[in-house]
């Protein structure tokens, strides 16, 4: 089966094919979601790529093992992200705290020059510190809501909270962020 054919299939179809024995189907799912999942895990785990890789690998393991239990009550995407989010939480818990305040390895964007990279690093570092000051729920809300490709509805589904709750938490998180960034700017 060609890659172009796989690209036209839905996530649920690919999962069903994988469950029926075609392992390449999970490769197509990974092609779609592994990078976003790694990015989210990176944000949630304090910019630790090693931890992010662990969390995403364990996420795929669970998809492979428990794929049969996916009932289709939600989309595959939100199901996958929920597993990934829980794996990140488990890793944070196992490392001794729910606060991802590890060192942030901000990598420069491709094509940036040294000066731009330095500016970007400095700016993102301030924001990273501000996000790191948030409690784990608010941090997850902020990162999920501004994660590329996720709507607020999907974020609410991943977090298993009503949309209203998500919005109120997001509002509170943004208020805290603004305050933290304002204080940083004034200092």
């Amino acid at each position: 089966m060609s890659a172009s054919t796989d690209a036209k299939k839905t996530d649920e179809q690919l999962l069903a094919e994988f469950l029926s024995g075609r392992q390449a189907a999970v490769g197509e799912l990974a092609r779609r979601y592994e990078r976003p999942l790694l990015g989210l895990a990176l944000g949630l785990l304090g910019r630790r790529p090693d931890l992010a890789c662990d969390a995403v690998q364990e996420t795929w393991v669970r998809v492979i093992r428990f794929g049969k239990q996916f009932m289709g009550n939600s989309s595959f995407k939100t199901w996958l992200y929920r597993i990934g989010l829980n794996q990140c939480r488990s890793l944070l818990h196992a490392r001794g705290g729910g606060n991802a305040d590890g060192p942030l390895d901000v990598l420069p964007a491709h094509g940036d020059g040294p000066e731009q990279a330095a500016q970007t690093t400095d700016r993102d570092g301030v924001l990273r510190d501000a996000v790191g000051q948030l409690d784990s729920d608010k941090r997850a809300v902020v990162l999920l809501c501004y994660h590329n490709g996720l709507t607020h509805e999907q974020a609410a589904e991943i977090l298993e909270v009503p949309l209203g709750t998500l919005k109120s938490r997001l509002h509170a998180a943004l208020t805290e962020l603004r305050a933290a960034l304002g204080a940083e700017a004034s200092s």
């Binding site: 990974a30 990015g39 690998q57």
Partner: protein, 401 residues
């Protein structure tokens, strides 16, 4: 302040969740990891093995607390049951001791190695001994010891159609096996022993079933077991009381009326069958040889039953006719073998008792623990399996955790 952040902040926030490099193809590693499912099983076993000792110790402690109380309750119940059963046995009337073996056993409780009485039984004044060597029961006279031990008298046996006795027919003569025990203290044990042996009347069929004189020279002791006619039991006991100081006197009786009547009825029935078979044999002299042989075989079987029933009846009759008296004679002025202990001895005795109690408690505790661990092994295994299954089910139903 607006809820919507600036596009710059949005871009910066989105940049926090961007993976900067190539994807490492983690799904392939995950596939390999998922294939190695046995590793997961091994991990399970290791986890369980880590937790199992704690669980076992906790369960053992709980069971060690619970089991002794259960065991104690069971033992108490057993003791109570045994006490009740013993009381009921002695209280039981003829309807609760219908079996011959039971009645005979209770009636000869003091008789050790009893030989068959050599002489026919006789009862009180005017008693008649029949030629069969025992009291005649069916169609003749039976010996009955009734009321206070024992006014033995003759009475007519019930007729062929007489029903079995019930509580509703109190007028029926009871047949009771009497038993008495007397313990005497006297200065001259030997003299008392010889005098007691002279109390029986061999002419009446009474005899000494067992006797012995012995013991320590300082504490001689004698015992005799008489079989005396039930009617003479009060007289014998009175005479025994004259031989020394009565330390213990106990009498008991067991009603075997039902057994006797039952034997009689069965015996009459078998005799009737025998008569009919004999009459049939006389009438069918010209019958085929096969039929005659079968008839004779039937007659032989019936006669065997008659003999067995006759033996049972006679045995019961002897037990009823002859009461059993156990006499124990001890020396009254014999020195006490256990002198009064002094304070030191008392202290030593207390220490010994405490040590014994402590050791017993320790051994009981160890035995209890061993029985909990070993005896409950099946339950431990089942519990472990149940926990594993429940945990596996929970993990399967919550894959996202």
């Amino acid at each position: 302040m607006s809820d919507t952040p600036s596009p710059e902040l949005e871009r910066q926030l989105a940049a926090l969740t961007v993976w900067p490099g190539q994807t490492p193809g983690l799904w392939r590693r995950a596939l390999r990891q998922a294939r190695a499912g046995t590793d997961r099983g091994a991990t399970w076993v290791l986890r369980v093995l880590k937790l199992a000792p704690l669980g076992l110790v906790a369960a053992a402690v709980v069971l060690a607390i619970v089991l002794p109380s259960l065991y104690g309750a069971r033992e108490a119940a057993k003791v109570e049951l045994a006490s009740l059963s013993s009381q009921e046995r002695y209280r039981a009337g003829p309807y609760e001791a219908r079996r011959f073996g039971e009645g005979v056993k209770l009636g000869t409780g003091y008789v050790m190695g009893s030989p068959a009485p050599p002489a026919p039984c006789a009862a009180g004044p005017g008693a008649a001994a029949n030629s069969a060597g025992g009291p005649t029961v069916a169609g003749g006279t039976i010996l009955v010891a009734e009321g206070s031990y024992g006014r033995a008298r003759q009475t007519s046996s019930p007729g062929p159609d007489h029903a079995r006795p019930t509580d509703a027919t109190p007028a029926l003569d009871r047949q009771v096996i009497r038993k008495a025990t007397m313990e005497l203290l006297t200065k001259d044990v030997r003299a008392a022993f010889l005098r007691a042996g002279q109390l029986i009347s061999e002419a009446r069929g009474e005899y000494i079933e067992d006797s012995g004189l012995g013991g320590d020279p300082n504490r001689p002791e004698a015992n005799l077991t008489f079989r005396v006619t039930a009617g003479r039991l009060p007289e014998i006991l009175n005479e025994l009381r004259q031989l020394g100081e009565v330390r213990l006197e106990k009498t008991s009786g067991e009603d075997v009326t039902t057994q006797v009547v039952d034997v009689e009825a069965r015996l009459r029935n078998e005799q009737r069958v025998e008569t009919e078979l004999l009459q049939l044999l006389e009438k069918r002299q010209d019958a085929p040889l096969k039929e005659i042989l079968e008839l004779r075989q039937s007659i032989a079987g019936v006669r065997q039953n008659i003999e067995q029933l006759t033996a049972q009846r006679e045995k019961l009759g002897r037990l009823v006719a002859l009461a059993t008296v156990l006499v124990i004679i001890r020396a009254s002025d014999a020195p006490d073998p256990r002198p009064e202990p002094g304070l030191g001895a008392y202290l030593l005795e207390s220490l010994r008792h405490a040590w014994t109690s402590g050791a017993r408690f320790l051994i009981s505790t160890l035995a209890g623990l061993v029985s909990v661990v070993v005896g409950g092994l099946v339950w431990w295994v089942l519990a472990a399996i149940a926990i594993l299954i429940a945990r596996a089910y929970w993990r399967r139903s919550h894959p996202a955790t």
